[in-house]
């Protein structure tokens, strides 16, 4: 069972979290100037790199603080390499901006 380091609460069991998938995706900006079936949106909604190895992914600490976070995890070994608040870099070592500090 995974032990996920919540940047706000510390390490918590996987069962407290809800998985949110690939965190490397960037939603195309809202715009009234797009066309139906805009390829950028199709890519965003459907296509995945699906890497075998390092994967940055979203989890929500649903049964905890409710916050979404980014986790860097190896999809081969399940090893978790770090976590960060959304938009942060889960692979950078925790520093003074560590929200839990």
């Amino acid at each position: 069972m995974l032990l996920i380091p919540c940047p706000w609460c510390g390490p918590r069991a996987q069962t407290e979290f809800h998985y949110g998938g690939d965190a490397s995706l960037r939603r195309p900006a809202l715009s009234t100037a797009r066309t139906p079936a805009d390829p950028a949106l199709v890519d965003y909604v459907y296509l995945r790199d699906n890497p075998k190895g390092l994967h940055q992914e979203h989890w929500q600490h649903a049964a905890g603080c409710g916050q979404w976070l980014v986790v860097a995890r190896d999809t081969r070994s399940h090893a978790i390499l770090g976590s960060a608040p959304p938009g942060g870099d889960p692979l950078s070592p925790p520093g003074t901006d560590d929200p839990a500090a």
Binding site: V45, Y46, R48, N50, T75
Partner: protein
Amino acid sequence: MQLFSALAVLREGLTGQTGWRRHWRKATPKPRYDTVIVGGGGHGLATAYYLAKRHGITDVAVLERGWIGGGNTGRNTTIVRSNYRVGANPPFYEHALKLWEGLSRELNFNVMFSQRGVLNLAHSPGQLDGYAERGNAMRLHGIDAELLDRDGVAERAPMLDFGRDARFPIEGGLLQPRAGTARHDAVAWGYARAADALGVDIVEDCAVTGLSIDRGRIRGVDTTRGLIAADKVGVAVAGHSSQVMTMAGIRLPIESHVLQAFVTEGLKPMLDTVVTFGAGHFYISQSDKGGLVFGGDLDGYNSYASRGNLPLASDVAGNAMAMMPCVGRLKVLRSWGGVMDMTMDGSPIIAKTPVTGLYLNGGWCYGGFKATPGSGWTFAHTIAQDAPHSLNAAFNLERFATGHLIDERGAGPVPGHQ
């Protein structure tokens, strides 16, 4: 091909089992083939067989990085059914089911297709109405389906929890009598043996490391056993489709997830049909050896690890106890995990790709086993004709852009479910 029969078994029994020959040759890859199939699972082997058998294309190699049938073909819960509702699904899976019905004889290899029925439980009148809609869709397609009330369910599976105080009492169910189970490994072996007899080379321990593409056209594959040229390459590596298609620069609407399965110690016969729980995600049957074979949900996060975690095992066992409370004292003997290609609409891809001569068969989610013969049959057609058969035309890559999704569960663009 050495013919298998009761007589052959008798003869070999009397002569010390010394006359049996290899079921498939241990082929060394040639430098070039008309067609190369990447992936020696049930789907790839079936494709090779039907290429040879139905389309006369015998200059075919099946490349398998490990041992044939070692992927999801050998890691599933062996359920075969065609109880679908949406779009292209019912005719496609029914075609597969009809092939299953003649498969042992066609391959001269007993795949032990056991038509013991698949029963989906409903736990509310609304859910039963939903099953009625599905069952009626099946009947309109000419597929067998029966709607059972509580008594009808109890007759088929008396050990289920019919208590009114059950957390989710059983209201009835949808039965497909012709559905059932098959011996999963035998499907790979049977197709391998039959394809081999038609001249197909089955190459084990041969991993594909690259796709050779020149000006938008496939030229062959790079492998751990050297470059193999081919006019056409069919990829059937579900679980790892993204990995192989990345070699062609193609991103897929697929995430790889782990699905666990479990088997108990052997017991005398107790469950004569396949039952799926309607108030959770759980399905169970009893193998011919006597073990209860069951599974549930995905572990729920991207993984290529071929193994699952304990919370899901616990959840699956909880489903078992809720549906069939007599199983508490039975012991789980083995558990295993398979890596699933989870597509964004829950349906597979059997299609041409943007690269000429490169074809993809994947995205089977957790339902690939049942499709094996139909998958190979239609994929062979697609490769041989360079165009899909009407049965698989809808399972294309373009549907995500056009919206012609085949979303049986209405779950939307997420792998598995929410």
